[in-house]
């Protein structure tokens, strides 16, 4: 009986190599960069789904987030890419790792029937989503042949955030939302005083 873990990572490695080769052969170095970022993104997500240990799942999301950041940079959105890496990898992932401390690793055996069923469902799902998108997009209207050179928009984005005719209202709303959400999160997650001091608890019960 082959080790399921080894088989999975072997197939994943081969798929990544095939993707890199495909990118290199179709579009040269740019294609190689895209294929690398794409295989990081999807490989990380696959590993998150496959791994039984939740710590490994959480850390494999780091590959996904970094891959998405590189995809943004390849699309010319350097500011969004850097924000993605800073906020997701530095912030959200660290936050999720706190939650990981709550749950023990899931050590049950994988059932190959369920893995096969999951793969089938996933294939159908990808086909459906991609088909919907392909049917919605007006491909002929897109200027795919004469793409402008990607340029940095960091300054424009900074101005747009505070320009009265552009994004100042959403910007302020986001600020308010973050304040409310973070204060609320602290309020919900805090331990009550009675959890620490038994006398306070008995006083509250008597009152």
């Amino acid at each position: 009986m082959l080790d399921q873990q080894k088989v999975f990572y072997g197939i994943l490695g081969l798929a990544v190599l095939a993707t890199l080769g495909w990118g290199m052969s179709t579009a040269g170095p740019a294609g190689l960069a895209f294929a690398g970022a794409a295989s990081f993104t999807i490989g990380g997500a696959l590993m998150c789904l496959w791994e039984r240990s939740i710590v490994r799942s959480a850390f494999s999301l780091m590959a996904t987030f970094c891959g998405v950041g590189v995809l943004f940079i390849l699309l010319g959105a350097d500011f969004v890419g850097m924000a993605q890496i800073l906020i997701y990898v530095g912030g959200i992932l660290a936050l999720l790792l706190f939650g990981v401390m709550l749950s023990p690793p899931d050590m049950t055996e994988r059932k190959l029937v369920r893995v096969g069923g999951g793969l089938l469902t996933m294939g159908l799902g990808v086909a459906w989503v991609a088909g919907k998108v392909a049917a919605t997009v007006k491909w002929a209207a897109l200027p795919i042949d004469q793409l402008p050179e990607p340029k940095s928009h960091a300054e424009e984005i900074g101005v747009a955030f505070i320009h009265p005719e552009q994004y100042v209202v959403p910007f302020e709303l986001a600020a308010v939302l973050l304040t409310v959400a973070l204060v609320a999160a602290v309020y919900i997650a805090r331990r009550k005083m009675s959890d620490f001091v038994p006398e306070v608890a008995s006083q509250q019960e008597n009152a």
Binding site: A30, G31, A38, T41, I42, A45, C48, L49, I54, S57, A58, L61, T64, F65, V68, L71, F72, L74, L75, G76, A77, F79, V80, A83, Y88, G91, I92, L96, G99, L102, R114, T121, M122, G125, V126, V129, A130, V133, A134, L142, P143, I144, P150, H153, E156, I157, A160, Y167, P170, A174, L177, L178, A181, L182, A184, A185, V186, I188, A189, R191
Partner: protein, 100 residues
């Protein structure tokens, strides 16, 4: 690389997120799946922005989605902590206080 390649990556990531939410029995995997889905949506925003005249709207949407994701993760984690204090479990199916 054309728009189709980016859409394909985004579709695969979206589906993986959906399968992660559905297949794993742990609240934290639901959070992981939500992050994947938000990332897939962001890839679409930025890709369509690039291939549709290279304006700025798609990028701004992506930035606001990232901000919302940060707020969502903080609140969701606080709720998970609270659920764990109340029920001592992170399985969504065990949280059934309203069921008689």
């Amino acid at each position: 690389m054309g728009l189709g390649a980016y859409i394909a990556v985004s579709a695969i990531l979206f589906t993986l997120g959906l399968v992660t939410i559905a297949a794993r029995r742990n609240i934290l995997y639901v959070l992981f799946g939500i992050e994947m889905i938000l990332n897939a949506a962001n890839i679409n925003f930025v890709a369509f922005n690039r291939f549709n005249g290279d304006g700025m709207d798609g990028r701004m949407f992506a930035i606001f989605v990232i901000i919302l994701a940060a707020a969502e993760a903080a609140v969701a984690l606080a709720i998970v902590l609270n659920v764990y204090q109340l029920f001592s479990t992170t399985k969504p199916s065990d949280v059934d206080l309203l069921r008689e």
